[in-house]
Structures are given as C-alpha cells and as structure tokens.
C-alpha cells in the first residue's frame, strides 16, 4: 500500500470499506462480487495469528449454519445455506464454530496447524 502524506488523508481517520460507491446495501451483494478497498481487512492475510485450526468434515455436516452465525470473524464460507468451508486467510482459530456444532461426532474439529486437512479427516473420531 502506498504511504500517503498528511495532506492526502481523509479527515477523521476514515477508511471506506469499498473502492467504489455501491448501488445497494453490501449485504445484498455476495462477498466475491464486492469491490473491497485495498485498506479493507478482507484484503489482509491474518491466518498466521492462528495456533489451532478448525477442520471441516462435509460428510457429517447438516448445514444448520450455527457455525456461520456464531463465527465472530465472518470466516465460515457458506452459500445458499450450504456450508462450504473455512476462510483460512482470516480465521483466528478461536474454536467457537467447533463449540456450537451440534452433530455427533462434530463436523468441525480443531487440529494443530501443521496437520494436513486430509490427515485430520482420516483421524476423525467415531460417534459417541
């Protein structure tokens, strides 16, 4: 990002979320279609803040959307009420999605960052 001089700044330490004005409310536009501004946190990679990562198991998921609703960082990717996966660029590894998952066994579990997702799925626990 280009460093600006003091005279180039918008007063109020203001940043706009999008690079252009939109015709409608952003909530009606899919994230992939939104013109995110360079300064939007969407454009910043913060995946390395994470120590443990949630791994998603499609075979067990019932698409209840609990994880999507509860995720404090909008890092659960879902379309048309179908769970797709985790946004590893922004997920901080808080584990709330795992905590709220209602299936048995859970469809999301925390694993160490170094473990490959396929290996994680291979060690998934049985129903209790």
């Amino acid at each position: 990002m280009k460093y600006l001089g003091w005279d180039e700044l918008i007063p109020g330490a203001i940043l706009f979320s999008f690079s252009e004005e939109m015709e409608k409310d952003a909530s009606e536009i899919l994230p992939e279609d939104r013109p995110y501004a360079e300064t939007n946190s969407h454009e910043a990679y913060v995946g390395d803040w994470r120590v443990l990562k949630p791994v998603y198991n499609r075979d067990l998921c019932i698409d209840c959307q609990f994880c999507w609703i509860y995720c404090p960082d909008v890092s659960i990717i879902s379309r048309d009420k179908k769970m797709i996966g985790v946004d590893y660029d922004h997920c901080k590894g808080c584990g709330i999605c795992v905590e709220v998952c209602p299936t048995n066994p859970k469809s999301l579990l925390m694993f160490e960052e170094r473990i490959d997702n396929d290996d994680a799925l291979a060690q998934w626990p049985e129903k209790e």
Partner: protein, 407 residues
C-alpha cells in the same frame, strides 16, 4: 413536528437556560447526557423541552459521562447533529472520549459549565476542567456571561459543523457565576436561530449503507503521525478564518460583535490583565475605574477562542503594552499557569516584549474581587515603570495564610 417556543425580546435566563435554549433551537438529532453540577440544568431544561413537545430529536440518558460522550460519538458518526453538556468530574470522565471525537472529526457541541476538579471535592467554578481540554483537539469558545453562553453555543454548531472544519466545539461558561445567575438575555426567535445554524451537513455518515465507512481506524507508527498532523493543521489554519466568518454573520444578525481575542480599553494601554470567563467583566470595570481615578492606562485582553490558541491575535493585542498579568483560575500543580505559558510564549516572539507575570486566583469558586483586580493593576503599573518584574513571577491572590509566590 416540534412546537415552536414564543420567546420575549428580552428573557431573564441564567447561563444554563441560555445554553439549553440554544441547544433546543439548533434542532439536535441526538443528545446523550449524564447530569452533573453545575451543568445539570442544561440537560434538565432540555429534557423538559422534549417532554413538552418542543424537541423532535432523541434524548438518551446514559450511565456516565464516558457513556454520554461515547453516545455522542456514535450518533455523530452515524450522521446526526449532536450535543451534550458537562462539568468537572464528568468532563474528566469524558476525557478519553473527547480525543476520540476530535480524532474522528465529529462536530459535537459540548456545553462545559466550568467547575473545579477534586480532591478536595468542590462544586464551584474554576477553569480546571476547561484547561484539561486544551490538548484534546476540540475548539474551545469562552463566554463571560449568560448572553454570551447563548451566543457561543449557537455559533458552536455553525463553526464545528462546517465541512471544511469538522471539529467538535466546547462552549464554556463559569460554573454558578454565569450558569446560575439570572441575567437579561436577548435570544433569536426559533426560526431565526435555526436559519442561522442551518441544516446539518452530514459528511460520510455511517448510516449510508451503500457506502460503508470505518471511523477512527487503528494506525500505528506508520500512519498515526500523519492523521494527527492533519488535524493539527486544520486547527491551526482553518478555524480562525471560520470563527471570524461566523462571528461576522452573527453580528449582522444580532448586532452583537465578537472577536477571537476581545480587547477592552487597549488602544493606549500601558498595562493589561489577560483573563478568561467572568473575571474579564470584573477586570474591565476596574480598568475603567483606575483610568478615571488614578490615571493608570489599564486595559483587559480576553481570548474568546482558547483553542486553537490565537497566537497572532494575542501578539497584536499585547505587543505595545509594558506589563501584562496573566490570571489563571486553575492550580497549575507544579508549573506556571497555562494562560501565562501561552501568552508568554506568544509574546516572546514580538519585538517589544512586555513584562509578563502570573496570578493564580479564584480556585474552587473563591471570589475574585474588585480589590484583587486593583492590586494587580497597581503591581503592573510598577512593573511598567521599572521595565522589569517588581513582584515574584507567580503569585497567589485571595489566598489565606502566608503570602504564596514563586520565582
């Protein structure tokens, strides 16, 4: 739609009522407030105006002054005209959020009824709270009586809200001496007042959902300095001209003329008192008296605008006098008084440097009397004659016990 209030040409209002009426007439969208003596009646009156149908906006009663100013910040960022009032401990509790408001360039109007800061606990007027706000990035206007409290509060909206300025403004008045003394006040009619203040010009409102915006982003060493510099630049270069413009428009409307630095009897003055608040009126009276009775060419200089500091106007007002006394109504707690430091700093830059001395007075509402002002002017006359200080640089006046002075 709010009812209009029929006002007389001359109303008998105290400073609090004057400020409340100015707030009512400005048709504010949100007032978030927590009451504290002596500014309580500002929001109490406002609440009764609302209950009686004279106000359309929201009035949010919150749990502290920190919350009051936080509510104001939110409402102002959302895109509304916003104001509140406070004093003393409440001002201190707000102080964290004052910097948020100015840093986000939100033109909130804060009526500050000046009061001492504890401990020891005291509800009376001094300038400790006003001084506490001096580095907060707000514009500070000072009223010396109830009429001015009305006028400054109305003008505060028009100054701060100008899209070129976008800075919050404090409208100061002295606790009790102004806030609780009923005086003749000539208000504008509701229509005239609103026409003067104008529609609120929203800038980047957060409620514009098609254009989402973040206010007061986190910046570290790579960006923070530039944002602060931008704010300081605007305070130093844009505010003086805007204040003059609004003062001129107000004079045209009301005939009442205000200046960034007020001068009384200064044309040929040898000695001058520099003061803030109600003390200015006492000093004016005494200057006039001493000119008549003793031939001392005495004058008074009073910053109407305390922040941004009117460096040039202070030099212009004081460069030709021989001796100046700066009167500080706040304990400097280990330094020279703030007004002394500001004035001396400005006068150091002029060719004819007057002798400048400092008086600490009136803490916690202690009376500042005619005798005190006379004593100061006489000491100034001796300083002017000697061409150097004949007294210690800092003296306490109106204090019991052994004479207290420094340097």
């Amino acid at each position: 739609m709010a009812e209009k209030m029929e006002l007389n040409e001359v109303e008998v209002w105290d400073g609090n009522m004057a400020a409340s009426q100015a707030l009512r007439q400005a048709q504010i969208d949100v007032v978030a407030a927590y009451p504290i003596t002596p500014s309580t009646p500002v929001v109490q009156n406002y609440g009764s105006f609302l209950a009686n149908g004279y106000i359309d906006g929201e009035f949010v009663l919150v749990e502290s002054e920190h919350a009051a100013m936080s509510g104001c910040v939110g409402a102002a960022a959302a895109g509304g005209r916003v104001a509140t009032a406070t004093s003393s401990q409440g001002f201190a509790l707000m102080s964290e959020v004052l910097y948020q408001a100015s840093g986000m360039r939100l033109p909130i109007v804060l009526v500050v009824v000046n009061r001492a800061l504890a401990a020891p606990l005291n509800v009376n007027g001094d300038h400790s709270d006003m001084y506490m706000g001096r580095d907060s990035g707000w514009i500070q206007l000072d009223a010396f009586n109830a009429q001015e409290a009305y006028d400054m509060t109305l003008m505060a909206f028009r100054i701060g809200e100008d899209p070129e300025i976008r800075l919050p403004v404090m409208s100061h008045q002295d606790g009790f001496i102004t806030s609780h003394t009923a005086e003749n006040v000539r208000p504008l009619s509701d229509d005239e007042a609103y026409e003067f203040v104008g529609e609120y010009p929203a800038v980047n409102p957060m409620l514009d959902l098609a254009n989402p915006v973040t206010y007061g982003v986190q910046t570290e060493e790579d960006w923070h300095f530039e944002h602060k510099a931008r704010q300081h630049h605007d305070l130093m270069t844009k505010v003086f001209g805007k204040v003059e413009e609004v003062f001129a428009a107000f004079e045209k409307k009301t005939g009442r003329k205000y200046n960034i630095v007020e001068k009384y009897d200064m044309d040929d003055a040898d000695v001058a008192i520099v003061a803030l608040g109600t003390t200015v009126e006492t000093a004016k009276m005494v200057a006039e008296k001493l000119r008549k009775e003793q031939g001392i060419k005495a004058g008074v200089v009073a910053p109407r605008l305390f922040r941004p500091w009117p460096h040039k106007q202070i030099i212009e007002a004081l460069q030709n006098v021989k001796a100046v006394a700066c009167l500080d109504r706040s304990s400097p707690n280990g330094a020279m008084g703030a007004l002394y430091n500001e004035v001396a700093g400005s006068l150091y830059q002029c060719e004819n440097r007057p002798v400048v001395t400092n008086y600490i007075y009136g803490l916690g509402g202690r009376d500042f009397t005619v005798e005190h002002a006379e004593e100061i002017f006489k000491e100034l006359a001796a300083n002017a004659e000697a061409g150097k200080p004949t007294t210690p640089l800092q003296q306490f006046i109106g204090l019991r016990g052994p004479k207290l002075s420094f340097y």
